[in-house]
Symmetry: D2
Amino acid sequence: MITSGEYLKRLRSMKPNVYMYGEKVEVPVDHPQLRTNFEAIAVTYDMPLDPKYQDLMTIISPVTGKRVNRYNHPYQSNDDLLKKVDMIRTMISETGCPCVCRCVGSDALSTIGITSYDVDKAFGTNYYQRFLDYLKYFQENDLTAAGAVTDARGDRSLRPHQQPDPDLYVHVAEKRKDGIVVRGAKTCITNAAMCDELVVIPGRGLTEKDADYAVAFAVPADTKGIVQLAVAKSPARECKMENPIARRFAFSDSIVIFDDVFVPWEKVFLCGEWQFGGGMGALFGNFHRLSHCGCIPGRGDLLVGVTSLVAKYNGVRNKGHVVSKLVDLITSAETVYACGITAAFKGVGTPSGIYAPAVIYSNTGKLIESENTTAMITPVADICGGILCTIPSEADYFSPNTQDYMKKYLKGAVDVDAEDRIKAIHLAADLTITRNAAAGAAAEVMGAGSPEAQRRAIHSDYDFEKREALAKRLANIET
Amino acid sequence: MITSGEYLKRLRSMKPNVYMYGEKVEVPVDHPQLRTNFEAIAVTYDMPLDPKYQDLMTIISPVTGKRVNRYNHPYQSNDDLLKKVDMIRTMISETGCPCVCRCVGSDALSTIGITSYDVDKAFGTNYYQRFLDYLKYFQENDLTAAGAVTDARGDRSLRPHQQPDPDLYVHVAEKRKDGIVVRGAKTCITNAAMCDELVVIPGRGLTEKDADYAVAFAVPADTKGIVQLAVAKSPARECKMENPIARRFAFSDSIVIFDDVFVPWEKVFLCGEWQFGGGMGALFGNFHRLSHCGCIPGRGDLLVGVTSLVAKYNGVRNKGHVVSKLVDLITSAETVYACGITAAFKGVGTPSGIYAPAVIYSNTGKLIESENTTAMITPVADICGGILCTIPSEADYFSPNTQDYMKKYLKGAVDVDAEDRIKAIHLAADLTITRNAAAGAAAEVMGAGSPEAQRRAIHSDYDFEKREALAKRLANIET
Amino acid sequence: MITSGEYLKRLRSMKPNVYMYGEKVEVPVDHPQLRTNFEAIAVTYDMPLDPKYQDLMTIISPVTGKRVNRYNHPYQSNDDLLKKVDMIRTMISETGCPCVCRCVGSDALSTIGITSYDVDKAFGTNYYQRFLDYLKYFQENDLTAAGAVTDARGDRSLRPHQQPDPDLYVHVAEKRKDGIVVRGAKTCITNAAMCDELVVIPGRGLTEKDADYAVAFAVPADTKGIVQLAVAKSPARECKMENPIARRFAFSDSIVIFDDVFVPWEKVFLCGEWQFGGGMGALFGNFHRLSHCGCIPGRGDLLVGVTSLVAKYNGVRNKGHVVSKLVDLITSAETVYACGITAAFKGVGTPSGIYAPAVIYSNTGKLIESENTTAMITPVADICGGILCTIPSEADYFSPNTQDYMKKYLKGAVDVDAEDRIKAIHLAADLTITRNAAAGAAAEVMGAGSPEAQRRAIHSDYDFEKREALAKRLANIET
Amino acid sequence: MITSGEYLKRLRSMKPNVYMYGEKVEVPVDHPQLRTNFEAIAVTYDMPLDPKYQDLMTIISPVTGKRVNRYNHPYQSNDDLLKKVDMIRTMISETGCPCVCRCVGSDALSTIGITSYDVDKAFGTNYYQRFLDYLKYFQENDLTAAGAVTDARGDRSLRPHQQPDPDLYVHVAEKRKDGIVVRGAKTCITNAAMCDELVVIPGRGLTEKDADYAVAFAVPADTKGIVQLAVAKSPARECKMENPIARRFAFSDSIVIFDDVFVPWEKVFLCGEWQFGGGMGALFGNFHRLSHCGCIPGRGDLLVGVTSLVAKYNGVRNKGHVVSKLVDLITSAETVYACGITAAFKGVGTPSGIYAPAVIYSNTGKLIESENTTAMITPVADICGGILCTIPSEADYFSPNTQDYMKKYLKGAVDVDAEDRIKAIHLAADLTITRNAAAGAAAEVMGAGSPEAQRRAIHSDYDFEKREALAKRLANIET
């Protein structure tokens, strides 16, 4: 396990091909708007080194026999699944960052672990051993991967092979003796600008004609032929009081273009076995929805905390409707958490030995998140009041022209310093209405798959036959 | 452990003072409308004897050293809490009964177990030993108790001692050498007409002036001075196809009047220690809300089962909106279950050794149930169609005058027998719109306490300080 | 206009072929469970004769030149539409009956009025004159019709002509010189057992192969060949305190079988013009959804009234959460009403001169009702408390054995008589959990068409092009 | 009536004391971030001059006898109220601006009109004539006012006179022969930086001890002693494709400090009559909630338009779940509109002759908006997909380095230009997740008063007595 300082050094030594605002970004980690993304990941390197978090955030790897970051450890038990939820919740609630960026790649790795095993069984391939070798390398170097799942997709009503432009889904453009050449693009790839590796899997069900699109692999993020168009969530300007979260911790997303990228066979984990395309998407969804069951409660901790604080600062903390709205926030967050805990507690081992969450609960948790996260803004705005949206800038606060006015007129409850109230309001804003917050909330709708994907997963996993049999017996219907 | 047949015999040997429709019911268990209540409890006697359910529904008692019904075993571990949720879910989904009636008394017992221990520590009393003795007797005889918590209450804005009529809350009317005399009434007491024992605890917070109302005790249900006014949920007439649930399994409720009832000291578990009144109500609420986290998912199993079945019978099972509404039903039920599992998984031991569920999750589960159960009727009605409310009676079906019309015109999908469809619709009705079903759904709103009680419990248990501290640190507010 | 007494006499003179519980009901209006249906309609005869309601409930007919019941007057203006909503709301809130039964036939008549005019224009037929003649006869005799729209339907995934049994949709079995012979069945036909006439229209879209199913007509309810299987909502036994609504006012539903029924040409309003089948269903839906926008607010008036009353009787009327839940009930009801008023205010004239409600608003109102009515039970149960579901029977109240107990222990706030509280609770029950209430609430989900039908109507009527143009202009997209 | 050009000229001639980012803004209308606010108001000057909108947006004033902007015309009829809703909806849907800024001042004026009349009747004052004189001046000059209602408020649990700092509510600091001197601050004052006049009214109920806080008046925005701290919603940098709304139309908010501002008696409309303080707040709330019933539907038009468009561009427009979510958006918006139309249609005349909306419906509309607006982001994000939050910047699009990648990989449905899709996504973002959009959505929660204020208004206006009487009659309870 390495420190965030070592990680920083490693990132600086890489030469990824990242563009932002139409310009090449030479050293992404030193770009002020991307640096915040690094800071978010830094937390995933440094907290596990704190003895207080050792049990929660690290584990002795059965692969290397050494202590590794829990993010880099495919789940081997229900306890592993449970700790993942709590680890994510803790990191989110400590940083306020909507995403600490390390779970996507981790979830893609677990997906490859399970599938490579199953493909080997079905087709006599040897992907699983490649996976184990790669995992060992990954753990030993304490790597961070971005998971690349969602293709460009073009016309969503057409399958990959039906698209006029074959590159709208990532595919094998050429098979060579020593590896494959891939082409296409993945979109909405969180943290691609700040990672060691890209772990790529198919994002949807495939037919035989889509066989070229059945490809999973890993590559260093600065491999030749990869181009990224990155977009940052951090504010473009420096600030001292505003954006208390986003000025420190944020995430970025990239469109990652594979412009004929060579991947050696030892890092290819699926190549042509189209029967497993949909399954990988579903598995990844299951893992990543569990991860979301940790991050929304972490965000909830802060939403409740800051709202309770502002209510105090406003002198209305004990009003009945304030209490009721705080309880609404709590139950919104804790319901998602309860689904995560249950998904983990009822998770099941796969033939590979890797544990997967119980589908009904990981998906129910994520579906509640999908359909409810933007609504959580309402009670915060309600209790903070209009000032949440209309507070003058920090420059007004720091200017001798205007500071006295702000101190006098933004004062709240008798014993509360106006500055504290202003700071709390800026935090509430950075959890609800700043670009970082608003994009973060909207991203919860689609992150880990759309609400419709969750509905399909629940419908397909649920044992209707069992429930229909219960009903038939009670209704006295012969089967 | 005894069989339901032995339980039936025992009930027949008792002489409780039960009135229904203004008349004395000599042998309640033989009254056709109350018999269904017995049948619901019978399930709690017979299923545990089935080896298939032994692990789930029984346990070796640390008190008696013998195998006992899990209902009669105060939780000693998280596993006990978890199994309770699954046991209840299983029984509800097998019978369709909104309540199998045995958990209330059991939850009241656990409440007494914890509190008696704490009171002894605080005041040097010896209630806990009395509790253990009673528990041993209870387990050895495989008894069923009704839990009596909710007082008559009169004017809800007044405390017990402020009521013009002192009897509106159960209280100690007289203390004797050998025991106490209690007076008052408890309302909404499920299963009182069909139980061995009544276990009585205070239902609300008390002040010093309410000390006489701080009383907990147990008495046989046919103790002198106890009068019950019972109300049944079963249909008053016999039926063969209609009310497939309620004609077999139902629950009853009683107003239980204590008209100067003597209780010997060995069955008195609280007497005057008003400081513990509110705590007992809260503890009972916590236990009983966990129980609800099992029963709504059981009801959900049947709602989903029958709705999926009718959708097939109607030929629309695969329509997008049908799938979406089934998923709504599933997530409504499974969210409550997830809260229950999480409450159990995170339950904590009390000084008495008895485990209590994690308050946030038992209450969130129950709150979701409270606020959502009647809404679950909507997708069922939607998918079944108007015929759910307009289907002719079973007498029409069995009459030669009309049967052919019903067979011809209530036919659904091509390969489905009209009779099966009719039966399924009657089941759907008995889960939604019969008196049994409608009262059952409405009862979920208030059972185990009102939504407001759950909100207060969540608000009081939640660690706001911790979340405010997280917010302050991020907002850079000095504490 | 006639009195309800005259209507009673007319019903007694008819010989409809009605079965209930498998037996022929010789004089339906004298059957105790159907009599309540008559009483609901009686209100529609008697209130309009009260000068206080003359303006709201009657109008000078442009057809007869005489004052007629507003129910029998196809809308000629927005004011007519507006008054219909208020008329229905008033009648529902005065009686508590979920349905006063006269609007369905009225809505079917308006549908025929518009369509017959359009069909004549398209095909040179003369249906419209037949309609006018029939309307005149209808108004002059102050008739009541049941509207028969929903067919038996068999497999819902098949069109009428695809069903193995051709009779699962009502169709023309034979065309004669003097009329047609129809066969099939309509289900869920409210008030068929208590009406003068049956007005029959197609219930769904049709293709050319379904031409025989494109048939609209009117017949006296006791025409030869018509058989009804009726189901009543009233309680089967007499009561004095319980079922305060359903023991006086209720509605019934019938399956109406047309077993080769002859209809003379002058009462045939569509015969083979399959192109208009779907349009009639949509028009009827539009009219009848407007009617629903009146009845839910009427039910809301009573739900709010009784809940506010019980809250007072319980001594908690001014608690914050009680106020909030009352406001929830109010806004649930008034939102539907607002949609109705807007649908009426923005209604538009059709070529026939008959006004139709604005589709977006009638459907939005009904959709809110569909998706929200069962949820309205929750705040009522919450505020009334568990006693709503557990109150002993009225027989207990009237028995000398038990009355004193009920008077003593069901007393609420200090100055409230226990009997008043008991009566109020029985009313609340008869608006939520009695069979009448529960079936009434569930019926709102599907009455006037399923939620999905409303969604389709909204989607098809909404001007997306206009909104997309607004978006394109702002986004600077060339069209 | 003047043009926006003339208005621009007038604004340039004023010298308001506006600060932003801690610096004095010499000519606010020329500040790039405030200029967008002017552009929003400009629409209210120019559209009414278009003959197409003359009837909707202008009227012959009964005060001046000349045609005036409808914004400056206190409602004299239900038709006036109805047209206001449609006027606002039209302007919002044309510009996409969350607020076109002219209604607040207008609503404050109507409030003064009604109250001044009533105060004169009660106390023999002559405020109403002052109001008429001011109104005439206002109309003749086609002025724009900001309405200043919400005080700084300090500790929300204390009344104005109880605050340690008396200036936390605006109050009369001195009464002179020729006028009054006022001190204090109003917060969240939309459009204060871009208006001719400030119209100030009390924002809450007052007691006798708060008499100094009972003050209503109007002053030119650049009156000596007024200081504003403004905050803009427009992006700080120029853009060509991003922020398609906010780069053109936006609103600003100010804290407006009255640092001993002199107001001549002829512009004082309340001074010490504390009994009318709460009433003015309630009246303003009623008017302004009606205004909101126009603006949410206007926003809804664009949300539906852009979402439908992106769904087409993605090739999924006809999927069942997309249709269903579009209908959710439509009904969310149209329900608010229906409440507005009903509030207007049922509005009632006051003694002053000014019409006020029906309180139940204006408040229900606003309450639905308050509790639902942030939730409307979810279906938009769902249908647009993750790219809504992760689309690269416009600079990437315009750069030769990266444009080809964006054109290739952000292509959607076959016949759709990638650039159009990118533009549509930027519009969707500017309606949901840009700072302008997110603050706009959150502002809907509190604009025109908090949800709790709406609940109180509904509860206090609703005729419970009438509904309780209906319930009592049906329950057979003697009154």
